[in-house]
Subunit: 268 residues, 2 copies
């Protein structure tokens, strides 16, 4: 059955949808069949990204690969328990179809806590959590001492992942491989960067995740959204956008993430 | 009664909590009494920022001004309609106390759509929406043509603000002054920056907001969170953090935002 990769972080704007799209395109380029679920369907970033890609293919007569994609909307039912049953049915049936037909299923979660997001987390084989290089983003993972930078205790998203791991173990005895990657890294700010790196390293042992090197702040990660493209598509004929030094560096960042997930360098 | 400033954007991580804190501290430095409501209480960034400030004051024996602050949690009631009544009661009573005692009330909203956030938006005199310099963030305001960069139509957050304006007019005939500010602006990426600026300018006329110059990507906006400080506190004795060129530039960015909101340069 398909390997499920969930992109999650209750903190907003940490790069979940961006990471999800780049991962999806990478997997397809490696020759895998990929299914994707947009768990943040109202905002719909991933759904729009893929619609834009389909439109680009049509306009240019291209065949850039696209995943089998389904948005999962929140229920509009007013009774809280009925709403959860409705959401669980639609989620389970969409996922059920994909796990048989695809090698990988990638799920993009919202930057907020809700029942659908918790369902998705409890199904993860791999959970990837991008974070901004910031004490504000770290505040969702742990409370930090302002003077020593010591970890004072886990915070709400770390607790949510803890719950998801218990539920996953309860479902089928499975475990969640949790990877935390720093995103939008600046080339400057040496001291803040060192502080964050130090905290992430301590935290990795405490709340059990593996840190990944992460992505730099690069306009190439966001300027191609309207065309549904990623930097990984730039070598395809017909795409018509030139490569640059920043593109090469970004390509290597994506490869490094794939290696941390478990792919061999030759795959990427 | 107090002037209500709501910081809102359904898109995550656009800088709402960061902007809210810097605005609150600026207003207090101008001598105004400020109340603040954390409408994103589970995530609690603003609430934690203020708790960190109170702890810093206690530890250093300082008296840096703090707002009268209340987090407003989402209801845990399972019936959807009962939950809304519960949220509305708590929100209205917290706001009611603040509007009489304070000159300004600042509300920090979540990066997702919910009933409390919509209530807050419908009470705004001024609505400030920070956005990342990105087509992904713009996608929440409008659908954009990938080739011409023309506005094809409003998107979900613009529609949410439209609703809030109708509700506000219905409540007391009031209007919402909507300001959109670009955040985390890079010094590079000239073409993407120009494209975004061009779209924002067109959009301002279409969905009726005033663009503000916005904040650059600067570590000073985020490195002081654990101490509850902002760059505006750095000149206070006892704070012990030196000023720099980036700090001076950031101070000017905050002043420019205040001017767009309606304060005279001499106030800031
Ligand atoms: N490495 C990067 N370099 C440059 N820009 C980036 C990078 N990663 C993300 N961005 C930009 O940062 C913003 C937030 O990214 P994204 O929308 O992927 O985050 P998210 O976690 O999915 O947000 P939400 O919580 O709202 O779902 C977007 O404007 C995106 O284009
Ligand atoms: N101008 C800036 N310069 C540098 N970092 C910034 C700036 N503005 C925001 N940040 C950082 O970007 C991230 C998102 O900012 P913030 O938490 O204020 O956004 P938000 O809109 O409140 O997010 P959410 O939707 O999760 O509530 C944080 O890590 C913050 O420290
Ligand atoms: Mg997203
Ligand atoms: Mg916030």
């Amino acid at each position: 059955r398909a390997h499920v990769i969930v992109i999650g972080n209750e903190k907003g704007g940490s790069g979940k949808s961006t990471t999800a799209m780049h991962l999806i395109v990478s997997l397809m380029k490696m020759g895998f069949t990929v299914g994707s679920l947009d768990i943040d369907a109202r905002q719909g970033t991933l759904t729009r990204y893929i619609e834009n890609r389909t439109a680009f293919n049509a306009k240019k007569g291209l065949k850039l690969p696209t995943p089998e994609h389904r948005p999962i909307y929140r229920s509009e039912v007013s009774d809280g328990n009925e709403a959860k049953l409705d959401e669980r049915d639609r989620f389970t049936s969409a996922l059920g179809e994909m796990v048989v037909g695809c090698n990988f299923v990638v799920m993009d979660c919202p930057g907020s806590d809700n029942y659908l997001s918790r369902l998705a987390h409890a199904c993860a084989d791999t959970l990837i959590t991008p974070i901004n290089d910031s004490f504000i983003d770290l505040d969702m993972l742990a409370r930090i001492d302002p003077d020593t930078l010591d970890i004072k205790g886990p915070s709400i998203y770390a607790e949510m992942v803890w719950d998801a791991r218990k539920r996953r173990a309860g479902i089928d005895g499975g475990t969640i491989d949790w990877i935390v990657m720093r995103n939008r890294l600046s080339h400057l700010d040496a001291r803040n960067k060192r502080d964050i790196a130090e905290i992430v390293e301590k935290l990795a042992g405490r709340i059990r995740f593996r840190p990944a090197p992460g992505f730099g702040e690069r306009v190439i990660y966001r300027e191609l959204f309207l065309k549904g493209l990623t930097l990984l598509d730039l070598r395809e004929k017909g795409v018509g956008i030139p490569m640059s030094m920043s593109h090469m560096a970004a390509r290597q960042e994506v490869r490094s993430l794939l290696e941390v997930i478990g792919f061999k360098p030759s795959d990427g």
